[in-house]
């Protein structure tokens, strides 16, 4: 069975990538990157990761209990998303796929809003302009082109804002993503392509998508690419911060490959036991993003257990609130399907609304 990478010995030192914190929680240096984060900021990121992992687990439970149509878990990718999310400036704009719950958290979107899509009561869930985080994109890779276009708009406005777009290793095969790279290169778009290489596109390993490491694709398109340990929140944060600044300052696009692992299934409809082996998952358990940060905080900063307990309690409380919010999430009024189909009045919309009303549907409690 093909794996997404070659397991050479126990360490990843043979794959060049940026790392500042080892899986064991030891700080290491890198010739080009350095973390200047203090204890509180690092603890804050641990808190972020704890919360989104807890909320993600709660969502999985809700799906297993029939309260969500589907859930796409981000187990294992917490550091990639929190590290990137906390590197954003308020005016930067982000374009997610459908798994960026950690980015949504960083952008301040209430958790129940992320679940509206999965509860099948909404195709979006929040005001993208208010949160500067676009609505989810389920069609793989579409958002890459959209994000580059947005960045070209920022360019023409002369604004000092970066745009960051998220997609996975599978998406890099889609035409849209490659075309996005072409455009970004040709126009020096102020964009960061944040690729979470979690090794699997449903059942297909990354080798099926690309013969070479993904970060090296960027060179072919004319801009820098960099691979970072996606489970190292410090490294992800530094690399992303620099790439965003580079874009904001007119330096053009960067491709960041966050090398991580999809610990769970593609979605709650998927069964990974059909195509990957447990041994591989075990290896990545030892690279857990939360464990290494906790180890570091305890060892280097003597953070007491009570503070971690407080984080867990906070996460549990947020999970309980999420549960209550989801259970209270009602189906929309059927008439609402007509509301935003068009910006302007349309005869077929008027006809449809009339028809639905005459049939006694909608307009009231459903």
């Amino acid at each position: 069975m093909a794996l997404g990478f070659e397991l050479k010995g126990e360490s990843m030192s043979e794959i060049p990538l940026v790392q500042l914190l080892t899986p064991e929680g030891e700080r290491v240096t890198h010739p080009e990157y350095e973390s200047t984060l203090g204890k509180d900021e690092v603890f804050g990121m641990h808190r972020d990761m704890t919360i989104i992992r807890r909320l993600c687990n709660e969502a999985t439970s809700l799906q297993r209990q029939g309260q969500l149509a589907l859930w796409a878990p981000l187990q294992g990718q917490e550091a990639a998303q929190i590290g990137a999310g906390r590197a954003l400036e308020p005016m930067d704009f982000t374009f997610p796929s459908y798994r960026e719950h950690g980015i949504a958290w960083c952008r301040g979107i209430p958790p129940e809003n992320w679940l509206r899509l999965f509860r099948a009561v909404d195709h979006g869930g929040w005001d993208p302009q208010q949160y500067r985080h676009s609505v989810p994109t389920i069609v793989i890779g579409n958002q890459a082109l959209n994000a580059v276009g947005y960045a070209m708009g920022v360019q023409r406005d002369g604004a000092e804002e970066a745009t960051m777009v998220f997609f996975g290793d599978g998406a890099t095969s889609e035409g849209d993503v490659n075309e996005a790279f072409v455009w970004a290169g040709s126009f020096d778009a102020p964009i960061v392509f944040f690729v979470q290489n979690n090794q699997w596109a449903i059942s297909e390993p990354t080798v099926r998508q690309s013969k070479i490491p993904l970060y090296r694709r960027a060179e072919g398109f004319g801009f820098p690419g960099i691979r970072v340990d996606g489970n190292d929140v410090l490294a992800v944060h530094e690399v992303t911060k620099r790439a965003l600044a580079h874009a904001r300052e007119g330096g053009g696009p960067t491709l960041i490959e966050a090398f991580t692992y999809r610990m769970g299934a593609h979605t709650t409809s998927d069964d990974p036991t059909r195509y990957r082996i447990d041994a591989e998952v075990e290896v990545w358990k030892h690279r857990d993003p939360l464990e290494r940060v906790k180890a570091y905080l305890v060892r280097q900063h003597q953070v007491p257990a009570s503070e971690f307990d407080a984080t867990i309690a906070e996460a549990d409380a947020l999970a309980a609130k999420l549960r209550a919010d989801v259970l209270a999430m009602d189906s929309p009024d059927p008439l609402s399907i007509f509301e935003f189909a068009y910006a302007d009045v349309h005869p077929l919309i008027e006809e449809g609304k009339r028809d639905m009303i005459e049939l006694g549907v909608g307009g009231g409690a459903h």
């Binding site: 709660e58 297993r64 209990q65 069964d271 209270a328 005459e358 006694g360």
Partner: protein, 453 residues
């Protein structure tokens, strides 16, 4: 404190059922929200189900190895105790949010399962029907494919027919392939008062013969050959069979039918009779049926094969009808049971169906007595040929004003001639004469005869 049931949900893996692999809780256990309850085996994997409730386990449904269908109860939990777990909202349900069973298809909530007979829930105009409130009407049996086609016409013609209250399906189309044209409808519309139980007034030139449209004298071929088929064949065969089997004899009577004419006028003027087509034929039919009740022998037939004369005590009254396809003799079953209005309506229907070509096979067989109405042609009488299987046929001539002797004075009366052909093997002259006289008396003085019924 209340007991909640957790039903086996669809876990999005193509599940219609699952096997219980291991229980992770036992009855009496106090459990927390999301605590693992059970491992179930789906088609290819084992899935752990977390508890949707916090509380105390009161019942486990099923043992290790049992196969449970989706939607069936798995476990019962008593909730609302002093647990620290947050209380569930009252809107919570352990089943799929739509509150109905769903069959998993690997993605999404799944397909709604169709339970029970399908019914309508809402109608246009706001009436919300409550399903299963009333017992369902007996279902319409599915009609097997027949060769019957929907009437062929065009929208403007359909509208025209609708505006005049005419069922387009009752009109015989003369257009190509039976297309119902505007003039077909117009004919029926203006036909108005001629939609009576008698054949319409004869035109001065008949272009139809033996069911075919004849080209005019000047332009048609000198010798035209028409194949003997269909209705023509039937008529010819019946006539031959009858004429060369039954010795026909005839009798006739002239009747002063003035009182019948006056009665019909008076009845027609009544509002209650507005939709009933009354005619002399109605009274003749009633008279003949009445005669059969008094003289059952007239309603018989001579069965040579069995060597029997069969007397029937129910009249299937045949009426000779001229249609575009030729002469047919459909009958009215149990005509002797009909009263004035019933007979009038039956005759109207019979003629309309004959004209439209929708007479059923059943209506064509079993005739016991027949009337042929030659009056509309201005003819006084005829010696018709018996339809096979009958012993008597009555021909009714025109009712016309003629001089008549009343109280030794010559006056003008409505006079009609009734003739009868009969099978002399079983009907003798005395019987035939008695029947004719009875019919004559009925037409001469109808009111007592009608009231006597």
């Amino acid at each position: 404190m209340s007991t909640r049931e957790f039903l086996l949900p669809d876990v999005g893996e193509g599940l219609t059922e699952a096997e219980i692999v291991v229980w992770k809780v036992a009855v009496g256990d106090t459990i927390a929200l999301n605590q693992p309850l059970i491992d179930i085996e789906t088609a290819k994997a084992t899935v752990e189900l977390p508890s949707p409730y916090a509380g105390v386990v009161t019942k486990l449904h099923g043992e290790v190895g049992d196969v449970v269908p989706v939607g069936a109860p798995l476990i019962e939990i008593e909730v609302g105790g002093s647990d620290a777990a947050p209380p569930a909202s009252s809107a919570e349900s352990a089943t799929a949010p739509q509150g109905e069973g769903r069959t998993a298809v690997l993605v999404g909530y799944g397909v709604a399962t169709d339970e029970g007979a399908p019914t309508r829930h809402r109608r246009r105009g706001g009436a919300v029907t409550t399903p299963v409130a009333a017992p369902p009407a007996p279902p319409v049996p599915v009609t097997p494919s027949t060769n019957l086609l929907a009437p062929r016409s065009t929208p403007p013609v359909r509208l025209y027919a609708k505006q005049h209250g005419i069922d387009i399906g009752s009109i015989r189309g003369t257009g190509r392939d039976g297309l119902i044209t505007r003039s077909d409808v117009e004919r029926v519309v203006s036909g108005g008062t001629t939609r009576v139980a008698s054949v319409p007034a004869a035109p001065t030139g008949v272009t139809r013969f033996v069911g075919h449209e004849l080209a005019p004298w000047e332009s048609g071929p000198k010798e035209e050959r028409i194949p003997v088929r269909g209705v023509l064949r039937s008529m010819a065969d019946a006539m031959v069979q009858s004429a060369f089997t039954a010795p026909h004899a005839a009798a006739w009577v002239r009747v002063d039918a003035t009182k019948s004419v006056e009665l019909l006028s008076a009845l027609k003027a009544r509002p209650s009779m507005a939709n009933v087509r009354l005619s002399p034929l109605t009274l003749v039919a009633l008279a003949l049926c009445d005669a059969a009740r008094h003289f059952p022998g007239i309603n018989s037939r001579f069965d040579d094969t069995a060597g029997e004369v069969i007397v029937r005590r129910s009249v299937a009254l045949g009426i000779a009808a001229d249609t575009p396809r030729g002469l047919i003799v459909p009958n009215i079953k149990d005509a002797d049971a009909l009263d004035l209005v019933g007979m009038a309506n039956a005759l109207t229907t019979l003629v309309e169906k004959a004209r439209a070509g929708t007479t059923t096979p059943n209506e064509m067989i079993g005739t016991t007595l027949t009337i042929t109405n030659v009056g509309p042609f201005g003819i006084d009488g005829a010696m018709p040929i018996l339809p096979p299987g009958t012993s008597a046929i009555v021909a009714v001539g025109q009712i016309a004003k003629a001089p008549w002797v009343v109280d030794d004075e010559v006056v003008v009366r409505h006079v009609v001639e009734i003739a009868m052909s009969f099978d002399h093997r079983c009907i003798d002259g005395a019987l035939a004469s008695s029947v004719l006289a009875h019919v004559g008396r009925f037409l001469n003085h109808p009111a007592p005869a009608l009231l006597a019924r």
